[in-house]
Subunit: 383 residues, 4 copies
């Protein structure tokens, strides 16, 4: 990755007060490649938390806000105002800030899923961003170098026509009922804040987005069986989905928050007429590649494989020196920085957009509907 | 495993001529623990092949048969006649020999699936075996020591109530169209000899049988999406199935013969309220066990775990000295030998029976029917 | 592997009474491919144990012996006497039986190390076997198909000139002091029965034999640091050795009986000018192969690799169906059976011989001497 | 890890011009936790490269230097001068800058090995830093959370008294002769710039430092066999070392730059009277822990294990979200920032110091000497 410290972008943040997981992740991601300076924030809706959180990360007093709308107004008015903002609030609080900043001409970096309802997602697509402000959805797993490489290999035909996709994303952290004290758990299991999907929205969308990103296939319909195993839980904590794609490929998607022994086991396996690829997020520097009739090969991030631009473009350090989750996240940030600067880099299709966010909501909504209809095959156009 | 060389059982074989994979496997399995003497056979329906194959493995000339019915008659009449017979023909040729030998009072060891149609399987259950002749179905993967241990751990509550089951059995050997020269492939892809299921019958049943064996759960219904990817192939080569179990557990089952890079990747993962287990057949001496909130443990065949009889009962050599497919197969043979001798060993529930064979056919038939009905949830009682 | 049941070889056994680990292993190995009938034995020096053990495995009363010398005499005199004998006693009891049976014209299959002293090993080489009786040393790990394949790959230059060898064999079963009740442990830690080496004789020789078998390199000298960690133990339980080979290659060999967490971790890694190979015994159906500058390949037993006879010759069942320790052991037995029958099969260099046994003792003796001399580089010709 | 953006430290850099691997790594490491602002640099001894590299990363023109001595003087004189400097030049260029900045009262962060000669290292210890300027040696692998956890587990007796250490660091990037164009390779294989050790200085010291860091054992003596396999290479590219520690523990250390198929295979395995630990750098979020007689446990970074402060202190994101090489490096930077701020955090023994640097040079020098003396056991006090 290139360093471009001379052209830092002024960044703000909505959400992400002290103790918030994903806000912290976004901040680290924005720092790794040195493309951003975080200079303003509405880090919490609670004024005291907002203030203390802002001070803690070094914001100037006059750029610590307690209200995102005020922040959008004030920053747009400053000559040194922020050029981009990261939205890292719970799902139901994505729409408002996204609209406000886009309409203020400030680029938006938004955590996934894009909104808590499909209607909100579609409404967001109707907004007219001022001055061509752009939108990045942080489906961060698409930033892993080997995921980019997998996409390129499939695009260039190394696997032949795709037949079978196995995607899964098991976790176990919600195996037992959670107390309200658990900040991460409480909003994710609350329909009012998270939306109609539990596991399917929090992690199922990641798995779905990843398989779409890598294969480029168009989904035809889904058949879902969503379950909520923990007594009292309102949202699904286990997701079984069958998928059909245009052209005939078939898929399975499993997401779970109650798979004991699974930390963050996102895995993608893709099989075509000529070859197969297998990748796991928890050891992301390796990917299995098999050409039919030949031994399996273990591809490594940045390691030896011929004729693949993606295998080097997204890599910071040599193979054998593991990169991880934060670096993959940072790749989205730094490539979006290039887009903001208008540097001409062509990341078309590589950086997740509003369109990907809407499709994610369609996936959630269609799956929930299918599950309610006893697994009836459901098209995205039906929701 | 005990050796019991002083009480060898006289064994015959139907099918398994030179070049046949599974017949060879049965013979090795019968030899490993020294419980059987193979003394008679109708190894092929082609007389010359039957004769040469018989000589090759050391059968006496007068006990090389070319017809199973004749063999059943002749052996039942001899004072030194066979006490048991292994049936290792293609699926559609299981029913006839099984009936003939059971009715002749000779114990039957039959390869899976039990028959090529559900009707045949149910008919077999109506037969009256002479002299209490017994029936063993070689769902060989149930013979792996760690699979026995998993079953015992679940039975004794180590995982708590089961919630989620992930079973899969990917292979890639039928990725391309096969010539008629490939003996293994040709009958497995031919509905007349294999039955209504392709991958689902050949390997899907193994995965299904294994999850049933280990969890003891009763299946409520299946929703299936069966596909035949290779042009011209009449039977399915890729199987996606959702399962519902009594008590609320949910499962997914994937079987494939076109998953490039998969040799024989049978895998079982089971998650309960308190713990999880994960096992792969291609490295069968290891099993992951996680108690919720504790580090994953790597259990080893014959290795350290407290209070588990199964962990030692089915083991031949110390942990670290890998046992494999043939030993697991042999365990079924040697424990069935004990049953034949009436030695009192209690293998109830451990050795697959006619009832398991019928359920396997119900699973195949219900899945095929569900797939034809666009994934409609289908009960076994509906087929 | 071919089956040759029509030409079974009559086999005897010395040692291997009930409860003995390695005697049981030899018996299973002799059965797997159906080449042998075990018909006589002096299974213990204690008459009652010998008798009960013999009955247990089905020996006729008149062929249960309590003395190996008597057994050699009697069997040589019978028209249906044994043609081969397996010697599975503790190390110090190898020489006597080996001499007796070879001089009686009976082929000998002897467990390793060949003797308990180098002098005995050299004396054995002076014996004149009657009627060309042959000798097999069961360095069983050489029977693994991928080990055979590795040997062939190196011989044919796939790795280029060998530079570095890393061999290791960690176990942990002697981490604590053992009671006399532990039959396996007690003789292995007793110099009178085991010889001058502890871990180096029991497992170090296996690792050494394996690296020699696979690379074909000639050892120039060793520098050793042997340690006995457990208080009161007389023999080494941890072995660190540096090796120099003719032609300039270098090696390290680690063997340990106190490496907590290691069951039977024999591992061999070999690096040449053009490629590298890595293999572990505890998952023996896989081997890593890297050509410099290309991705690592995972070779599988019986799987796809071009132009390698060894990759198929020693395989029983298709890749993905794991074979293990007993099958590798059985391969030595069945190929020795071919040699006994004089069938013309050329296993020269593949089946471990008396010469390998002597070199194993030289390795032990030179290492012990080097360690006593503070790691002085020691040649085998110096001991 | 805490964020402390309100108290950023002004940082300079010596070396690390465009294209330099380790300089880039230091810059990323300094950014990840937001503790530093890089504001000055003498990034190259070639003025044009220094200037362009400085501009590229956003340095102000007047703080781009072409001479480190001038930089030390000028920055010490500025009110907003740098508080710390990173030295990322080739080994022989560490001493001069380190001395200059320490004597100017500027904290030094220095890449390893500390110098190119033991004499330089010892001379560095004689310098009187102005104003208590501190020194950090970036033995970055000590920053991995599980390495910290291993150290704490051993310190608290979880393994019992240590017996055996196996450390290794294989790479393959110098398998073939390198051209002068390869900047990374050329100075590392040049005695004038790298010092007396090749692989032993570049990677052997890492492995040595790591085993010392984790076990706390004191080295008694080393016996080494260093080899240079590639024709024309002046320095060792393969290192075999035996180690003896006070108290009786024994070790082996292998480092190689010609082990084909090894990317950056740093591995540490430690065995004590009660337990064992195994860790690999290329998958650093996992560590095996075995208590004797119990199943192996797979500990995860930030995952479940009781009573271990280190298991959480050095972690940024939840288990299952992999952290890598850059994060471990960053931990040294951010904890050194706390030390610089005098915040009272007690990292005594955790952050590598000048004393560790000297011991690293003693290790290199003693090993080279031992190898020249045919493996004679050599104490650090002898060099």
């Amino acid at each position: 990755m290139a360093e471009n410290g001379s052209k830092k972008i002024r960044l703000g943040m909505v959400g992400g007060g002290t103790g918030a997981f994903i806000g912290y992740v976004h901040r680290v991601a924005s720092r790794i490649d040195g493309d951003y300076d975080l200079v303003a924030g509405a880090l919490s809706s609670r004024p005291d938390v907002a203030r203390e959180s802002g001070r803690n990360i070094g914001l100037a007093e006059d750029r610590i806000y307690t209200d995102y709308a005020e922040m959008a107004r004030a920053e747009a008015a400053r000559p040194d105002g922020i050029q981009a903002v990261s939205i890292v609030t719970p799902n139901h609080m994505h729409f408002g800030p996204a609209k406000a900043f886009l309409e203020a001409g400030i680029h938006v970096i938004c955590d996934k899923p894009i909104t808590s309802t499909l209607a909100d997602a579609r409404a967001l697509a109707e907004i007219k961003p001022k001055n061509g402000a752009k939108f990045l959805l942080t489906h961060n797993y698409t930033g892993y170098p080997l995921i980019r490489q997998a996409r390129e290999m499939i695009e260039s035909g190394r696997l032949g026509k795709i037949r079978v996709i196995q995607a899964e994303y098991p976790q176990d952290w919600l195996t037992e009922a959670t107390s309200d004290d658990n900040k991460q758990a409480s909003w994710r299991t609350d329909p009012a804040r998270s939306g109609a999907g539990g596991a399917i929205g929090d992690i199922g969308t990641h798995a779905y987005n990843l398989l779409r990103f890598v294969t480029g296939l168009t989904t035809e319909a889904v058949s879902a069986d969503l379950t909520s195993f923990v007594p009292g839980r309102q949202l699904d904590d286990n997701v079984h989905i069958l998928l059909r794609f245009e052209g005939g490929a078939r898929g399975m998607l499993w997401a779970s928050q109650v798979a004991v022994g699974s930390e963050n086991g996102l895995q993608l396996r893709i099989y075509g007429e000529k070859g197969g690829l297998e990748w796991r997020q928890d050891n992301p520097n390796y990917m299995w590649f098999t050409e039919f009739g030949k031994p399996k090969q273990l591809l490594t991030r940045g390691g030896a494989i011929s004729g693949n631009a993606a295998s080097t473009m997204n890599v910071r350090i040599p193979s054998g020196h593991p990169e991880g989750y934060l670096e993959a996240f940072a790749t989205l940030y730094s490539q979006f920085a290039e887009v903001i600067r208008g540097g001409g880099a062509d990341y078309d299709g590589l950086l997740p957009t509003l369109r990907d966010g809407i499709e994610g909501m369609e996936f959630i909504t269609a799956s929930v509907k299918s599950s309610q209809n006893d697994g009836k095959w459901t098209k995205f156009s039906d929701v």
